[in-house]
């Protein structure tokens, strides 16, 4: 288990990369997270997370093509490795297990007036 535990943001990043499929590189990942997660993250923060995931072997990356808007600089595409997918499935399973054990009545929102 140790080492494959995913942080909330790491999980978000991995899932986003899977959603994006072949088109997952810095800009798109960031925009997607901003859109789906409703938060503003910086490219720097994203970089830290991605390189950590890559170090853990949950992500792989390869250099891609470039275009004019990038000032001739190549993109770097990210892909979730098998290990990354396992970690995601594991995380989801843990959560599902917990969700299933919560009685509905406890989930009703309560407000103290």
């Amino acid at each position: 288990m140790k080492g494959t535990n995913l942080g909330e943001f790491e999980e978000l990043a991995l899932l986003t990369i899977l959603v994006l499929g072949d088109n997952a590189y810095g800009v798109t990942i960031k925009q997607e997270i901003n859109k789906q997660g409703g938060r503003q993250i910086s490219r720097g923060a994203l970089h830290t997370a991605l390189s950590r995931l890559e170090d853990k072997g949950l992500l792989s990356s390869k250099q891609g093509e470039t275009n004019e808007a990038r000032g001739g600089r190549p993109k770097r595409y990210y892909e979730v490795t098998n290990k990354g997918k396992e970690a995601l499935i594991e995380a989801k399973a843990t959560r599902d297990r917990l969700w299933n054990q919560i009685p509905d009545v406890r989930l009703e929102l309560q407000y103290a007036w």
Binding site: V27, G44, A45, H47, R52, N67, A69, K75
Partner: protein, 888 residues
């Protein structure tokens, strides 16, 4: 797409410089792509801002390049090795390093906070347009027996002066329109205190921002009101306030605009601004009765003294007539009898710190405190720098051998000096960083405590950061120089043999430094104790009335039938007496009116109040002669005076039965009324102890000239305060459900008068504690050094049969001498400083009575010094003498 528009080039270069090379292409590519996307979506400016933020957020370990060492020259190597040595040395002696850095960091933090505080206090009212030629009109009102100084002045003065003199460009006036006013919106009522009336040019004159509304026409209806942002939020939340109606005690008001919250560095503050022109009593010109704050803007190049001079003309031309009409006495006679009006201008910038007149908006700051705090800031840093020197010297015993070896191995003196200096610069820079962190952590509670809005970030300009850096370098070099030269001048042969040089000169320097440190500490200790004594005195002084167990209900004017209410209050168990008055001591407002003994022409001004028949007894005020008001008499034309008033009127020998004329004026516009003095009360302090007791006249409730009952005083039995308050509140709610219930206890109201002093006293105490601590660190270092030098002497003495006590005393004796010298120097200094401070009180302790403080201060310093030194002395004495003597 790219073409002309491109990301901000400085940031591109910055990013290229700091980013790891292998990451740059990818990240810069992404940032650039996003930039052009943002340019299309949000425009160039927004995109640039985002780009800059992105680059700055890239500053994180995973992106940053490892710093490459650019310069490989010999200097760089030297610097590197010295820094490394410095760090090693610092880490080796963890205790000393911690004491040194800790002491310096705390003193830097204290100094920083004090400077921020001083800065915030000295930057008042400097944001108004043309503030350097804006003045407030103030008045020295000269009475035959005393002079009073007023911040509020007659409302026609400024207007007339502006009309008559070309030197004055513009004027504006502020009238404090409502204190304790109920304001209701949507059935929610709040009690508001900061309601002022101003003129149409108010916002422009003071440069206050209008957030909503029309600046050209701020009062568009007769009952327009501008409210502050804070109030807009409180009453209307997210609704737009414009055009909404607020119901208030001073009529319904229509919100015509929202202004910014009054900046904290303003000598006044307001939440509601109504139109001064609309108030009924400003329709007739008035040159005599004080009512408003008059502000004048002079033309460029005009000296305020010119206008001070010209104000005399206004008094003679306009005020004189009114005085003659109202007082029925010629202006010549009036002035001949010792009355006078001397108007003068106060620079608006100076009001906060230098103006302490009657009727200020709020208690102002005190320039003496600013000087005191600034000196403390400077002294504390000096203390810390001295520690530096003492601690470094102290360690010379340990480092002498290191120096000897180095010299033998070929180090030049220059190199050693630079090594020691770098060491102390490292310490001072680390301390500066920790100190700034401490400031950052300490500011929020400090702000809450002093009701300030000081922010460290507003000072984070490149200039200030540079100054802080230069200061820490300078401090390091300054403090490092003396030890560096001392240490590097050791002769290798001598120190390697195990002997230390004792230079006579060094002895004087070191002792001089300790004397200075203790001098400062003792001054601070004694000052703190004297402040404490004075505060104690203020709290305990017999004010001439009983301040304990008196419950005060303010806003008595809200009660429709006071007599019934009073009867009901008296029925509450635990309430022994209930009295009504127009003004409570300390906080109340006493208006002035003119009186003269019947048959004379000279009138004098007395402060006036109204008492009911039970008030004197409720408050425990002493009746010196005659009787108080009573239901058994017809008291409409009865008057009670205080003893000062009988003296001022010249009737002190047989005051009872004297007939006194209340001269026609603001309080009795119909004409003179003659009263009979029925009683004389002993002087009691009805204002704060900053001012002396002035003559006072007291009307009965039946007299229509007395003014309104404003407060109800309840004498309660001890320890029942809370239950009585609950019952009183219930009664209040029944009788006046729409009126806010405001109560307080007299003793805490009175303590609040000295809040500024109390707070300064607290601050004093904290800084004194820190200063003593810092001085002790220095002493600790010095003790190490001095005892280290005498270790063999101690050994010999012990071998020859000296007892431990004798030796410890011998060691302490040296330090006693130093403390005694410090004390002798500190006494005159404290007396001088505290004399200045005590000067701001009309009632104060005698300087002679402060000897207790000096005894305690001196003893405390001595004890603290002993405790500090005894650690080393006892260790040295208890140690086996053989060990000490064996070294050679």
């Amino acid at each position: 797409m790219p073409g002309k528009i491109s990301p901000p080039s400085f940031y591109v270069r910055l990013f290229r410089w700091l980013c790891k090379e292998q990451l740059f292409d990818e990240l810069q590519g992404d940032l650039e792509e996003e930039f052009y996307y943002n340019v299309e979506q949000l425009g160039k400016r927004k995109a640039s801002v985002i780009y800059k933020q992105e680059v700055l957020k890239m500053i994180r370990p995973s992106v940053l390049k490892r710093l490459k060492l650019i310069d490989n020259s010999i200097f760089y190597d030297m610097f590197k090795i010295n820094t490394k040595l410095a760090l090693r040395n610092l880490l080796k002696n963890k205790l000393y390093t911690a004491i040194n850095i800790g002491g310096l960091a705390v003193s830097i933090a204290v100094c920083g906070i004090l400077l921020l505080y001083v800065n915030s206090e000295t930057n008042f009212d400097n944001y108004h347009p043309d503030y350097e030629r804006t003045y407030r009109l103030a008045l020295d009102r000269i009475y035959p027996d005393h002079t009073s100084h007023y911040a509020i002045t007659p409302y026609s003065m400024a207007e007339q002066a502006t009309r008559d003199f070309p030197e004055i460009e513009e004027f504006t006036r502020i009238f404090p329109a409502g204190f304790g006013t109920n304001v209701t919106y949507n059935n929610e009522t709040f009690l508001e205190n900061d309601i002022i009336a101003g003129e149409a040019n108010f916002l422009d004159f003071f440069g206050i921002k209008l957030l909503q509304g029309n600046r050209q026409n701020i009062f568009n209806t007769a009952n327009s009101v501008l409210i502050s942002e804070r109030m807009a939020l409180k009453y209307f939340g997210t609704e737009s306030p414009i055009g909404k109606i607020l119901q208030t005690d001073i009529g319904d008001l229509e919100v015509s605009g929202v202004v910014e919250n009054t900046p904290k560095n303003t000598h006044f503050k307001f939440d509601f601004l109504v139109n001064l022109e609309g108030l009924p009593f400003f329709q007739q010109p008035n040159y005599v009765n004080f009512s408003v704050y008059n502000y004048l803007k002079l033309s460029e190049g005009v000296a305020p003294a010119t206008v001070n001079q010209k104000m005399k003309e206004v008094v003679e031309k306009y005020a004189a007539g009114q005085i003659e009409r109202e007082q029925r006495i010629s202006f010549e006679d009036y002035t001949a009898s010792g009355n006078g009006y001397r108007y003068f201008l106060q620079p608006i910038e100076d009001i906060h710190l230098k103006s302490h007149l009657e009727g200020e908006f709020e208690p102002n700051g005190n320039i003496t405190y600013i000087y005191i705090f600034f000196s403390i800031a400077v002294f504390i840093v000096i203390l810390a720098a001295i520690n530096f020197i003492n601690l470094a010297t102290a360690r010379s015993t340990e480092r002498a051998k290191e120096v000897g070896i180095r010299k033998v191995l070929g180090s030049e003196k220059k190199q050693l000096v630079s090594q020691f200096i770098i060491e102390s610069v490292v310490v001072s820079i680390v301390s500066m960083l920790i100190g700034i962190l401490l400031i950052y952590l300490a500011l929020p509670p400090f702000n809450t405590y002093l009701d300030k809005e000081i922010s460290l970030l507003t000072f984070a300009s490149p200039l200030n950061i540079g100054l802080a850096l230069v200061a820490s370098f300078g401090l390091g070099i300054l403090a490092g120089t003396y030890p560096a030269f001392v240490l590097s001048s050791f002769k290798p042969v001598v120190v390697l043999k195990g002997k230390l040089i004792k230079s006579q000169q060094g002895y004087w320097i070191r002792n001089g430094l300790v004397v200075f440190q203790f001098f400062v500490s003792i001054v601070l200790i004694c000052s703190t104790l004297i402040v404490g004594q004075q505060m104690q005195y203020l709290q305990k002084r017999n004010l001439g009335f009983d301040r304990e167990n008196v419950l005060v209900l303010s806003r008595a004017f809200g009660i429709p039938d006071l007599t019934t209410f009073k009867n009901e209050l008296e029925a509450i168990p635990g309430v022994s007496k209930v009295g009504l008055t127009s003004a409570m001591p300390g906080t109340g407002f006493y208006y002035g009116a003119s009186f003269r003994p019947a048959g004379t022409n000279e009138s004098i001004a007395l402060n006036c109040a109204v008492f009911d028949e039970d008030y004197i007894e409720t408050m425990g005020i002493k009746l010196a002669k005659g009787r108080g008001f009573s239901k058994d008499f017809q008291d409409t034309l009865a008057l009670i005076l205080n003893e000062s008033a009988t003296r001022a009127l010249g009737i002190e020998h047989s005051p009872i039965g004297q007939r006194i004329v209340n001269v026609q004026g603001a309080n009795n516009p119909q004409g003179d009324i003659t009263y009979e003095v029925v009683g004389v009360i002993s002087d009691y302090n009805y204002k704060s102890l900053h001012t002396e007791i002035t003559p006072m006249a007291i009307f009965s409730r039946e007299s229509s000239q007395g003014g309104n009952i404003g407060a109800i005083a309840l004498k309660t039995s001890t320890n029942q305060g809370a239950t009585i308050v609950a019952q009183v509140e219930k009664l209040w709610q029944e009788i006046a459900p729409n009126q806010t219930f405001v109560y307080s206890f007299l003793d805490s109201d009175l303590s609040a008068l000295y809040e500024a002093e109390q707070r300064s006293g607290d601050m004093f105490m904290v800084f004194t504690g820190i200063a003593i601590w810092i001085a002790c660190i220095g002493l600790f270092g010095l003790a190490t050094f001095m005892i280290g030098n005498r270790i063999k002497e101690i050994g010999v003495r012990k071998v020859l049969g000296a007892s431990s006590q004798v030796v410890v005393w011998l060691l302490l004796k040296d330090f006693n001498k130093l403390i005694a010298i410090s004390l002798l120097l500190a006494i005159p200094a404290s007396v001088w400083v505290m004399g200045q401070w005590l000067g701001s009180f009309a009632y104060r302790i005698e300087m002679l009575d402060t000897w207790v403080s000096f005894v305690i201060g001196g003893t405390l310093a001595l004890v603290v010094a002993w405790l500090t030194v005894s650690y080393h002395s006892i260790r040295a004495v208890v140690a086996n003498p053989v060990k000490n003597l064996r070294t050679e």
